[in-house]
């Protein structure tokens, strides 16, 4: 049985790529809001890490709560989070795995020398042993 495809609406896809580009060489992060595997809004959040933002991101509890509130206000759901990997492949690191929450989509954007590249999506396996990649498409803008 195939995994359902995560669909990122065009405007949200543009925001994620732009955020990754603007934050470079630091990692960017934000929340994915929508429903039924369709991301309708990418909510940029501050990267609050104190471990070096070129290779780490952290969404603090206060910003996490803001994301849940935004989802509720839109009568939508918090579907997951995105972050960028500056000059690094769009694959989850061991550190990503150790810190992952179940159920959420983890979208990773590779940013190669300030240019946004591959975008992938991952879900934590129930036993926390690994991430599984899921299909993801960024919708094209309807004219």
């Amino acid at each position: 049985m195939g995994r359902p495809t995560l669909v990122i609406q065009a405007a949200a896809g543009v925001r994620i790529r732009r955020h990754g580009q603007e934050a470079y060489p630091h990692e960017c992060c934000g929340a994915l809001i929508g429903r039924d595997h369709v991301v309708t809004e990418a909510l940029a959040l501050p990267n609050s890490t104190d471990e070096g933002p070129r290779r780490r991101f952290l969404v603090r509890p206060v910003d996490y709560l803001a994301a849940e509130r935004r989802a509720t206000a839109l009568e939508a759901e918090l579907l997951g989070f995105y972050h960028s990997h500056p000059d690094s492949p769009a694959r989850p690191s061991r550190y990503d795995l150790e810190h992952a929450w179940p159920t959420f989509a983890y979208v990773i954007l590779a940013v190669d020398r300030a240019t946004p590249g591959a975008l992938t999506s991952w879900r934590l396996r129930e036993d926390r042993s690994a991430f599984d990649e899921e299909p993801v498409v960024v919708a094209q803008d309807a004219e």
Binding site: R55, H83, P92, Y106
Partner: protein, 94 residues
Amino acid sequence: MATKILIPTPLRGYTDQLDEVEAEGGTVGELLADLTTRYADLRKHLYAEDGTRRNFVNIYLNDDDIRYLEKDQTPVTADDTVSIIPSVAGGARS
């Protein structure tokens, strides 16, 4: 005595989709022990294999992080609300 616990989105799959549950206990530690007895599948997402709480799991008593109160010994009453609030962390390299 039951105290209300707010469950964040990624953990609701382990609490019958409820965003709010009740558990019993006089301290935050007792409350969480009761919670993870009632909903055993929550345990591995809140605690590491050595039994320590994962550091990206934040427990708030009303508006305060229990790390700045009395941690798991923080007393709770039926009038309090305890929240499990994620930090979301990651990065490119291990």
